[in-house]
């Protein structure tokens, strides 16, 4: 049994404490925007925020999380896809297959929360998620667009 605070709601889930947060989100709570990619915290597809810090949920046992810790998933990042990063992502049409992109956005949101104006080096150091389609340059551009509060609506396409 674990009590978790996810996207501002309290959930009590009946799982083994060694169950990774990823699988509780996906299978107990139906929050499938957080993806399974590797299971060993390598690829970042499962990135969520724990108390504002980008964290890889596939290697985080729910038993190690306290009810006081605030977990935010992609579904809770904004109510309607209006987070500046989501708007920048839409403006620059970043995704290809899209599977890694929710994790990318959560990692980027974690970065911007602690560093409002990241340099290329900051982005390289903090965004280590894997994308096999190869969207990295557009991810970088979208992070910068969101950071500068650029007018996303004029930059589509």
């Amino acid at each position: 049994m674990a009590q978790l605070t996810i996207n501002d709601k309290t959930h009590v889930v009946d799982v083994d404490p060694d169950t990774p947060l990823l699988w509780v989100l996906r299978e107990q709570l139906g929050l499938t925007g957080t993806k399974f990619g590797c299971g060993i915290a390598q690829c970042g597809a499962c990135t969520v925020h724990v108390d504002g810090v980008a964290t890889r949920a596939c290697a985080l046992p729910v038993g190690s999380i306290t009810p006081e810790q605030k977990i935010v998933t992609i579904e809770g990042l904004s109510p309607d896809g209006s987070h500046p990063l989501q708007k920048a992502w839409l403006a620059l049409d970043v995704p290809q297959c899209g599977y890694c992109q929710t994790g990318m956005i959560m990692a980027a949101a974690g970065l911007l929360a602690s560093n409002a104006s990241p340099s290329d080096e900051d982005i390289n150091a903090e965004i280590t998620n894997i994308c096999r389609c190869g969207t990295y340059n557009r991810v970088r551009a979208a992070i910068k667009l969101a950071a500068t509060g650029g007018d996303a609506t004029t930059q589509r396409g």
Binding site: G39, C43, A45, R132, C133
Partner: protein
């Protein structure tokens, strides 16, 4: 994009299809998209490609699969262009493979690979859009009792100028459905395009930003159970026994099943429970005849092929062997390319529900019809009793096309729990151990230079694995695999060599290790371009000639190849010296019907490679969406350079050694160079864009590395070489 259920609730009468003999088919899909399905069910299609609803929504049917490459948007643009509808009203849906079968393949080929999505369906999808337009116009004209020639359409609004009347596609769509399709269709000249040819945003972006996009791995059908699987990690090995009792009481476990002779699965309430139990399950394997196989033994086998007498000839011009024997100066080198895993971000998965009357599969697939065939085979049911619902893919790259192993497994598991939907999801480890690997080859190149530094003869001997021999033997030509020679043929429109070499021999000693090969994005063009283009660089240096000038001399009569090469040379500033410490490299090839070239600037500091700049040019004939082409080109460097820099699946004890991204490294943000893309469609042909550029990524970088350091890397990947030494 709606999940592939919307058509399914419409009941349609099948004509005289031999396959189903006039059955009325109605599928019941208990999830997702039902509201839309109900709406769609009340609106008859104008034709197979177009449904227009009373609210003016234009639903365009897409038979090829969207896996990130943008085909969904591009094909919709082509239909919409001819349809002359309002692009802002366009949505898309996938017809199902079962419907395609029942309707005598009205949507033709579902296969999405070989960069063929657009180029091999552009003609008939444009005709579909044009036919629908004519029927809609005819319906309006009939309603107005006016000559159809006096009616015109702009963005879905039909006008009869003489009377000043207007109507809309949505209003006449039902009547249009009853019109006779036009006998003759004249397609627009691409120069008149207003929707196609434009860099429009993708149709499928928004849901990928919020987590709403459903991938196969995300499915959760009512009553669904979840399966984790383990196949014998040694290629060709089998299950001897397993002790199900040891895990039967673990939380959530419902059943432990043998899937086929090679694999065991645990079915549980959740996937995590299934995986945990599978990890605890004692399994005894018979490792079979390949337990001694290693990368070294495979390399030895291939090496022997480099000078062997048994070889299939792919290209032969003049007398290369004779010219080489009599040459005063020859240059020779041996290259090697290792196994690669596709490593899609979404691991393989499929969800199946079996009853003796019906087998249904939900699957991210590059080929819905191949999935349907696999489902029928595994279910041991007639194909008419099976159906496949395509789900968007979390990457494909060739892994989700031919193979369908995960579909067979899912059905064989579901068959042991009749009536219950079971989602089979592979772990990353399973995905890495049971790939359809980019084949391994070696290549020995020998060239002859005359006193003036001209290349007079070239023998390119490829030794290694044939993909077709393993996965599509019907494509073999008297034992030869023609796909081995991608990009190296004399005159194939798919990809011919851009050099006029007076004496040329390209041949292949087929050596097939017992490791399953597959079509990996770019396929054989990848290593062929690497071998040819790096060796061209070697020859140029041996001749003491600038690599660009050396190539240009050989490219007479290959103007389109030359144009892309010139474009990248120009843009990178080849005629001006690079910054200190920076080296420049070039590569060009033709593949998948398109001409591509790349130029790279790199430097090495303390043994670490830095790629400063990439310029890439593509001539695909026609550019349906230049923005999507740019992204495919940019992504091609990630895929191609991941392989060049890090990619390697090594074999030990008959199994792959790399099981996850910690040992199978791929390119990440920090390694990603700037990519400048030049899209230069020259018209007159249709080429693909998803794959060809991958092939020039590695040779451009390796040639630049040589220019910067004098180090010639001939064995991939680069990580195994010490650049500091």
């Amino acid at each position: 994009m709606t999940i592939a259920t919307t058509l399914s609730r419409r009941k349609f009468i099948v004509g005289s299809s031999a396959a189903v003999g006039g059955l009325s088919l109605g599928f019941h899909i208990p999830f997702a998209g039902q509201a839309l399905a109900e709406a769609s069910a009340t609106t008859p299609e104008v034709n197979a490609w177009v449904v227009i609803k009373p609210d003016e929504t234009v639903m365009i049917r897409i038979a090829r699969s969207e896996m990130g490459q943008g085909t969904l948007t591009g094909l919709a643009q082509l239909v919409a262009e001819e349809l002359e509808c309002d692009w802002s009203k366009v949505t898309t849906e996938y017809p199902t493979p079962g419907e395609n079968l029942a309707r005598e393949r009205v949507w033709k080929n579902f296969s999405t690979g070989g960069s063929r999505g657009i180029r091999e369906s552009e003609d008939y999808v444009r005709r579909g859009g044009a036919a629908a337009r004519e029927m809609l116009l005819a319906a309006a004209a009939a309603e107005w009792k006016a000559p159809v020639g006096e009616c015109s359409v702009d963005k879905g609004v039909i006008a009869h100028k003489p009377s000043g009347r207007t109507t809309t596609y949505g209003k006449v769509a039902s009547a249009a459905a009853k019109m006779t399709p036009p006998a003759d269709i004249v397609l627009k000249d691409p120069k008149d395009w207003t929707i196609a040819g434009k860099p429009l945003p993708r149709l499928d972006t928004a849901e990928k930003l919020t987590g709403k996009q459903v991938y196969g791995a995300d499915l959760n059908l009512p009553g669904q159970l979840n399966a984790a699987i383990k196949a014998c990690p040694v290629f060709g090995g089998k299950v001897v026994s397993f002790d199900a009792a040891k895990v039967a009481s673990m939380p959530g476990v419902r059943k432990v099943v043998q899937v086929d002779p090679t694999a065991v699965a645990v079915v549980a309430d959740t996937w995590w429970q299934a995986k945990k139990a599978l990890d605890a399950l004692p399994i005894v394997w018979d490792e079979g005849p390949n337990a001694g196989l290693s990368t070294a033994s495979i390399a030895e086998m291939l090496q022997k092929g480099l000078d062997a007498d048994d070889a299939f000839i792919g290209t032969s011009v003049g007398d290369a062997r004779g010219a080489l024997a009599g040459a005063t100066k020859t240059v020779s080198a041996v290259y090697a390319f290792p196994y690669q895993n596709h490593a899609t971000m979404e691991p393989m998965n499929a969800t199946a529900r079996y009853t003796p009357e019906k087998c249904e599969v939900w699957v991210p697939t590059q080929n819905g019809e191949a999935s349907l065939a696999a489902a029928a085979e595994a279910a041991e049911l007639p194909v008419q009793k099976c159906e496949v619902y395509k789900i968007n893919l979390g990457g494909g790259f060739g892994r989700r096309g031919n193979f369908q192993d995960y579909v067979r497994q899912a059905v064989r598991i579901a068959k042991q729990l009749p009536g219950t939907p079971v989602k089979l999801l592979w772990s990353r480890e399973e995905d890495m151990l049971h790939g359809a690997y980019h084949p391994t080859t070696q290549c020995k190149l020998t060239g002859a230079l005359d006193a003036e530094g001209n290349l007079t003869a070239l023998h390119m001997r490829i030794s290694g694995q044939s993909i077709l021999a393993a996965v599509r033997p019907e494509g073999m030509q008297n034992g030869k695999d023609p796909v081995v020679f991608q990009g190296l043929t004399e005159n194939s429109p798919e990809g011919h060599l851009g050099y006029a070499i007076p004496n040329l021999l390209v041949d292949h000693a087929m050596r097939n290790p017992p490791v399953p090969p597959g079509f990996w994005r770019g396929v054989n063009l990848n290593q062929n371009a690497l071998y040819m283009e790096c060796f061209m660089d070697e020859l140029a240096h041996a001749a003491g000639v600038d690599p660009l000038a050396f190539r240009r001399k050989l490219m007479v009569g290959h103007e389109k190849h030359l144009a892309t090469l010139n474009a990248v040379a120009d843009r990178i500033g080849w005629d001006n010296p690079p910054p200190a410490g920076v080296g420049r490299g070039l590569a060009q090839i033709m593949g998948f019907g398109s001409y591509v070239a790349a130029a790279a600037e790199v430097s090495v500091t303390d043994g670490a490679l830095k790629i400063h700049r990439i310029v890439a040019a593509t001539d695909p004939g026609h550019a349906v969406n230049p923005a999507q082409i740019e992204r495919q080109v940019e992504g091609s460097f990630v895929y191609g350079l991941s392989a060049c820099l890090y990619g390697e699946c090594t074999v030990k004890g008959g199994r792959m050694e790399q099981e996850n991204f910690d040992t199978y490294e791929v390119m990440r943000m920090a390694q990603m160079p700037e990519v400048e893309t030049i899209v230069m469609p020259s018209g007159g042909f249709w080429g693909g864009v998803g794959e060809p550029t991958i092939a020039v990524a590695a040779p451009a970088v390796l040639n630049a590395l040589f220019a910067a350091t004098g180090k010639r890397i001939r064995t991939m990947p680069l990580k195994n070489h010490n650049l500091a030494a």
